[in-house]
């Protein structure tokens, strides 16, 4: 009896831990970031175009950083969604079991590669390649970063989509075939719609990974704080600005608070994405 009680408390503690950590993180970044919103102004901070935090006088406008993050993330998803969903469909619906046994570990391995290795690969291989292929003056740009992030995110979308597809009941497929639908029709009109909420969840998870990824963008996105006119220009996503500048900023300075301000913006952005997904998923559930 007491043992059971003790166990209950222990798991309760474990469950509470995540709440405590989350609150702790939120409180600490808001406390550190709040001063910059007060000093610069929320709108000027979010929509200011110049990021010159160490200049005298400094300028703290993060619009170019936000746009940098969005461009790289959207680019990554454009690559990762078709590849991820495509490979999931192949693995769960089309591939024979031995092909599947071979392919699946590869996708899982791809998901397990540390991001710094992706970054190195980008620097020595993808960046010079894009430079030569598109006759650019530099290969460190949003395009290169998007490609690498896309490859990173692809396995996440793939494996979660596959789970969603395989949990679609067999009856649905058989009913579809019984009505005379061929394989392609069954997959596109029956299986995928039935797995929709899981597929969307996988995309959002991938999006979260892409927008939060730091190392890769730090290494290959080029780091120029500009609002790019094309995808082939360098960008400075929010995460890379925080990672690159935190170490040398003076603790408690405006710049320091501004970096926490970026963290708050990033946090709210990801929260927004999560809320949107949740509402989309609820709607899908209601109508299906």
């Amino acid at each position: 009896m007491t043992k059971e009680r003790l166990f209950n408390y222990l798991v309760l503690f474990a469950a509470l831990c995540s709440v405590i950590f989350l609150l702790g993180i939120i409180i600490s970044i808001f406390v550190q970031g709040y001063p910059i919103f007060k000093e610069v102004g929320v709108l000027k901070f979010l929509f200011g175009k110049a990021w010159y935090p160490t200049q005298d006088p400094p300028e703290f406008g993060i619009l170019s950083l936000i746009i940098g993050s969005l461009i790289v993330t959207i680019g990554a998803l454009i690559i990762a969604i078709p590849l991820g969903i495509g490979s999931a469909i192949y693995l769960s619906e089309i591939a024979k079991s031995n092909t599947r046994e071979i392919l699946k570990p590869f996708i899982e391995l791809l998901a397990g590669i540390p991001s710094v290795i992706y970054g190195l690969f980008g620097i020595v291989f993808i960046a010079p390649l894009t430079m030569r292929l598109f006759h650019l003056s530099t290969g460190l740009n949003a395009f290169t970063a998007a490609i690498i992030l896309g490859v990173m995110v692809m396995p996440i979308i793939s494996s979660l989509t596959e789970d969603a597809i395989s949990s679609v009941p067999k009856d649905l497929r058989e009913a579809s075939y019984a009505l005379g639908a061929n394989k392609w029709e069954t997959i596109s009109k029956v299986v995928l719609p039935a797995a929709k909420s899981g597929v969307i969840a996988s995309i959002i998870l991938g999006l979260g990974r892409a927008i939060g990824e730091t190392m890769v963008v730090l290494m290959v996105a080029g780091g120029a704080a500009i609002i790019p006119k094309s995808i082939f220009q360098p960008v400075r996503p929010m995460t890379s600005a925080i990672a690159a500048e935190m170490g040398e900023s003076i603790t408690g300075s405006q710049h320091f608070h501004a970096l926490f301000g970026i963290a708050i913006a990033l946090f709210i952005l990801t929260l927004l994405f999560n809320l949107i997904t949740e509402s989309v998923r609820r709607k899908i559930k209601r109508y299906s």
Binding site: L6, T54, A225, A244, G247, E248, S249, S253, H255
Partner: protein, 272 residues
């Protein structure tokens, strides 16, 4: 219940073990600039070989982090690739600390271009115009018709700080300049990019890139040491009050002939 006590005790033990204890006389904790890190690491390895009773633990983090940690009393030595700032000194005064800096090495910042670039020297003014975006094609300085790819160290790095004060003189870098995080990355990118210009510590010069003469002076150990090369800086170790005991022994070691040889091995310019 017994288990809970054991767990609590374990947590207590772990957390007390983790606490940094700069008071311990035979333990030196160092944090700060990643530029100084290789010197500190190499020096600590050699130092601990001959001083078995002293342990040194070293972290990077950046100059700002190092100084902040020193001010909060977590570490004994803060490595810095820039001078301590007035804001930081003010915090020190508020906390009643007397921060002392020791110059432990010199560093030259070489301006580098791709090997295909025919340019071999540049003056500070032209350099400034390139970095502020007024010159954006190599033909404007007598080179090939090729857009300039401006590469800068990250705005927060000590290297950038030096470049800012000596070259930019208060002006802003062009927004389109690439901002890369390390000397090695800049060297690699310049080697791959025909139109690139960048700046790195002279320890990171390789055969794959070309260093430019600045105002007719080639960056080298000699020109940095005798002060003729303009883009040079000092590297520091900051301590709280005059270094004492183990900390003093270590800093004295870095300043000794053997220590300065390590400075050179790490790719920097020794003081003498």
């Amino acid at each position: 219940m017994k288990k809970l006590i054991i767990i609590a005790a374990a947590i207590g033990l772990i957390s007390s073990g983790c606490k940094p204890s700069p008071k311990n006389n035979n333990r030196i904790t160092i944090a700060g600039s990643t530029t100084v890190l290789p010197i500190a690491q190499l020096a600590a390895e050699v130092f601990m070989d001959s001083h078995r009773d002293i342990t040194i633990s070293i972290r990077g983090g950046g100059s700002g982090v190092g100084i902040a940690q020193l001010l909060s009393g977590n570490i004994d030595i803060a490595d810095a690739s820039r001078e301590i700032k007035p804001e930081e000194l003010q915090i020190a005064r508020q906390k009643g600390k007397n921060i002392i800096g020791t110059t432990i090495a010199l560093d030259g910042i070489a301006v580098v271009v791709n090997k295909q670039n025919p340019l071999s020297e540049i003056d500070v003014n032209t350099l400034k115009n390139i970095y502020t975006g007024k010159i954006n094609n190599w033909k404007m300085v007598g080179g090939l018709d090729r857009p300039v790819v401006v590469i800068s160290r990250d705005i927060a790095s000590g290297t950038f700080e030096v470049f800012k004060s000596k070259v930019l003189q208060g002006e802003k870098t062009t927004q389109t300049s690439l901002m890369l995080v390390s000397n090695k990355e800049i060297a690699g990118t310049v080697a791959q990019t025909p139109g690139a210009i960048g700046y790195i510590g002279i320890g990171f010069l390789t055969d794959e890139i070309k260093a430019l003469k600045i105002d007719s002076i080639m960056p080298s150990t000699e020109t940095v040491k005798n002060g003729t090369y303009k883009l040079a800086r000092s590297l520091y170790m900051y301590t709280n009050s005059e270094p004492k005991q183990a900390t003093k022994t270590f800093i004295d070691f870095v300043l000794s002939a053997q220590g300065q040889k390590i400075v050179q091995e790490a790719g920097y310019v020794p003081l003498y």
